[in-house]
Symmetry: C2
């Protein structure tokens, strides 16, 4: 690629000219090489990828126009020093960067940047090493490009799965680092991915490299590590054992945020519990949700439920097994009678509770008796182990997920509708039957008003549930997309009016959700803005992420 | 008190004049009333308090001169609005404030300010309400002045102890909020106090009031709460159930820090586990520590050890039962033979492992078999339940502590020497026999070089141990105090040279410890300084806390 080549991207960030872009991108090419830079110059490049083969130009599940959130270029740094250099250049031009790890972020915006024209930093393409798996300390250290699948393969290849288990989300293709930093969840006892991290390495907006917690403590100088670049230096041996370090505990600043670019992370792995049994409890009636959640609360708090179990709506399971047309010829939302029919056909409940027992047999036996006994209060409830269910059952998939084996089977529910795409609406709920029923009622009603089936699941944390409403839509149906936009905006407002907030969201709704966190004249947001402007005075890292805008962008109305 | 009264405090902060102080303190008196202001004008006011009756002028365990870290005045705001007003005044004068909750902070500096002449903000005197105990959600919300003892009494008085347990540190007189914010530890499964918080309310240096996590989500407006001041408004019902909220998770910024003044906090309580059994395992030989720690690691990681157990050196237990003179006439450090003799006399080991089992009997039985079986590999090990031990045994105290009942018995070890005072040296250790032995050897050697007995305990977290070296000294012996200063400085350096860092420290050693966290040209500290200067441009809140200084103080050499 000649130095004089002119690039003309489809979109540029506000206030930046084509010549700015060209100068910036030419400088970047000199750093990382042209093989690690792709400029999005043609409509032909905006091809919807798939989960298995993502593209990094935009969000494949575009709820806005396909090119609404569009990168000007995708740049893959080869190493930490490249990231530092790129950050330095971005400061020169005040050019926005949008770091991604793998670029899945499915249902929350994929690889797309919040500000169109941003350069997407593909952190995972070249930085994809499993740097360490420490059996004694039960942790690993990974770069952004390590997927759950990669890490699983690593454990298998090194005969470590007998010692250590992962915790995986529903799909195995995402970045271990990216998911933790976005505060994603999985389903083993280690399901709170953010809680289970210890020690991060971060490139700051000024190009400096920081290690957090005990990572700020240097490993004692040894001859073989003298002269190494900082990013290659060994970590303090306690960096991934104790997260907090000394002084302010700053890690959270780098989660769901734009305060820095995370380049390495320590993640705790679960020791093989020496015994495992997954199970399914089917709840026959729609209203059983209420009683089930009230049964679950004390069991989970008391650790009889050891992991992050899920209460899945019948249609989520049904959608894994077939598309809507395979169940019904109707296009409008399915009726209660049809849902009952599907449940009967699949030998499932209207709600289905997936959990697992961990530990030696005597422990599992006591816990299982406790759980069975408690759930038996619900009339018509049934209990299953995987071997009691068909070969293609969801329980057989969850059996893998709840022991940390990554799968891709749950991809299938996205095809519930033709040209299926999806968004997640993810409010937090109290673990209370009444709250769960109210949140279910509010969200179901609005889904139906938008002409969509309610598909959802409650994932049960220690004291709250992540209620994940899976909004499936036909991305080639422009009217339906507009309805989905209405649905999201309305759900956010409905939930805020009930005192419920979302834990995470798609790019298009970050501002609206941050606006619901407006207690006392939005002091939380304003404090974050002070931090953002202090640590990134040129506003180069992920402007607008989670609704936090640097001052450069304050003159623009960013509301969609 | 007349408006024209002149105050002349014993000490003033740098660059502030007596007239600044007088104007400042008169303004404060107009806000909080003279009954909530005490100016330290006379040497007579510098009286060493005790743990049970602390004074807030200085550190009762003064390792420096008694008046080295001295308040100019103590001010007790009556409510959040007072704190906001005081902060506003402090900005006007750039006057340093040093917020304390109860002022115990025993072994880490007590109520004393880092910068002499600071106004100590006694947050706990008037703000001491248990605002909520929520049984369903298993949490409480407290103000700074609620001690463990207060909260325990509250649970007892409301017949809630059958439902919810506290987690307490060794002594019950400290602030629940203060301990969590300092990232202190206790000994039940909820021993990581920082991990177990959800939702904070913070007065920022600009006087604004912030709520974190889901606390940033307003409770829906209801007629009965309309018009309430922000601090009196009900929290979102999920504020204390889910800690992270949306966007950057900023809570950690307010731990061990000077970024704000915490006025309320949500703390998770443990559901009554429906079964409990404490136990003691005695390890006969000094070197048994190695094998014990290697036995403990997989048990703790695998959750057979459910709580934060401790491995206590014989002298810690011995010191609870009597002072040094009751065991020996020697003033120099006791020999191995003497330690063996004391162990024999007390029917204890050279190390003593205190743990507990939680849950119904069948669970406890399986776990106890696992633990007993594992420890039996150590020759001469013995197992005890409380009823097997004397009435005054440490196990009978730990039996209370490990079920969250606050006690004061452990105060006694401070009297190991006459005029006993103490400091904690608290490095983090890997849960590895080799590391524990190395850290024990390094710290014991230096204690003995300083002429002191080694007294210490390892508290076992999930993947690390807080090694707490209890440095007891005679505070009237000036030569010994100088030796203790040398000891601390030397231990910090020794540990850093081994790659070990401290999790917390006394005021006098904050700078030195922060300097050991100097990876990559101290990028961690410099990042914190950027944050500090951004959120507190006048440097009014706790300058120097954890070694983080605002820019106003950068011209001064603060090294002791």
């Amino acid at each position: 690629m000649s130095k004089t080549q002119e690039f003309r991207p489809l979109t540029l960030p506000p206030k930046l000219s084509l010549s700015d872009f060209n100068e910036f991108i030419q400088d970047i090419i000199r750093i990382v090489g042209s093989e690690n830079v792709e400029v999005i110059s043609s409509k032909d490049q905006i091809v919807d990828g798939s989960y298995m083969k993502p593209t990094h130009t935009h969000d494949p599940h575009h709820v806005m126009d396909q090119d609404y959130f569009l990168a000007s270029a995708i740049v893959a740094p080869r190493n930490v020093a490249d990231v530092q250099s790129i950050v330095g250049l971005a400061n020169k031009f005040s050019f926005p960067l949008w770091p991604i790890s793998i670029g899945r972020n499915s249902g929350y915006g994929g690889a797309a940047p919040r500000v169109s024209g941003s350069v997407v930093l593909d952190m995972g393409k070249n930085m994809n090493r499993v740097l360490e798996v420490n059996v004694e300390g039960a942790y690993c250290v990974v770069e952004p490009g390590v997927t759950y699948h990669d890490l699983h393969n690593y454990l298998e290849a090194n005969n470590l799965r007998d010692k250590l288990w992962l915790d995986v989300p529903d799909l195995g293709g995402g970045s271990v680092l990216g998911n933790a930093v976005e505060r994603g969840v999985g389903y083993t006892p280690y399901g709170d991915h953010w809680m289970m991290h210890s020690g991060m390495e971060v490139v700051l907006a000024n190009g400096e490299l920081l290690r957090t917690g005990m990572g700020a403590l240097p490993d004692p100088k040894r001859p073989e590590t003298m002269g190494l670049k900082p990013e290659d230096q060994p970590w303090s041996k306690i960096a991934h054992l104790f997260p907090y370090g000394f002084g302010p505990y700053i890690d959270g600043l780098f989660s769901q945020s734009n305060m820095g670019i995370v380049t390495k992370i320590g993640i705790w792995l679960m020791p093989n519990p020496r015994g495992y049994q997954s199970y399914l409890i089917t709840l026959p009636k729609d209203g059983d949700l209420k009683q089930a959640v009230d049964i679950i609360r004390p069991l989970r708090l008391g650790m009889a439920l050891q992991n992050v179990p899920t209460i899945r709506h019948i249609l989520l399971d049904a959608a894994v097994l077939g598309d809507k047309r395979s169940y019904s010829s109707r296009t409008e939302p399915l009726s209660d009678e049809e849902l009952d029919k599907i449940a009967k056909q699949l030998n499932l409940g209207r709600w289905n509770f997936y959990g697992a027992l961990y530990g030696p047999e005597p422990i599992r036996r006591v816990l299982w008796e406790t759980i069975k006994d408690a759930f038996s209060a619900i009339p018509g409830v049934k209990f299953y182990f995987p071997e009691d269910t068909p070969e293609n059952s969801v329980l057989r998939v969850r059996d893998k997920t709840m022991q940390g084996i990554p799968t891709y089977d749950e991809l299938k529910w996205i095809d519930w509708l033709p040209n299926g795409a999806h968004l997640f609406f993810s409010p937090i709920a109290k673990v209370s039957g009444e709250d769960a029923m109210m949140q279910y009622a509010v969200t179901k009603k609005r889904c139906q008003e938008a002409g969509l089936d309610f598909i959802g699941t409650f994932t049960v944390g220690m004291r709250e549930m992540h209620h994940i409403v899976c909004i499936v839509f036909n991305k080639k149906d422009l009217i339906q997309k507009r309805k989905v936009q209405w649905l999201m905006r309305t759900l956010i407002d409905d939930c805020a009016a009930n005192g419920w907030g979302e834990y995470r969201t798609h790019l298009a709704f970050m501002d609206q959700i941050m606006e619901t966190y407006n207690w006392n004249n939005s002091s939380f947001l304003r404090f974050n803005e002070v931090l953002k402007n202090a640590v990134d005075p040129n506003g180069i890292i992920a402007p607008g992420k989670s609704g936090v805008w640097p001052s450069q962008y304050s003159h623009v109305t960013w509301k969609l």
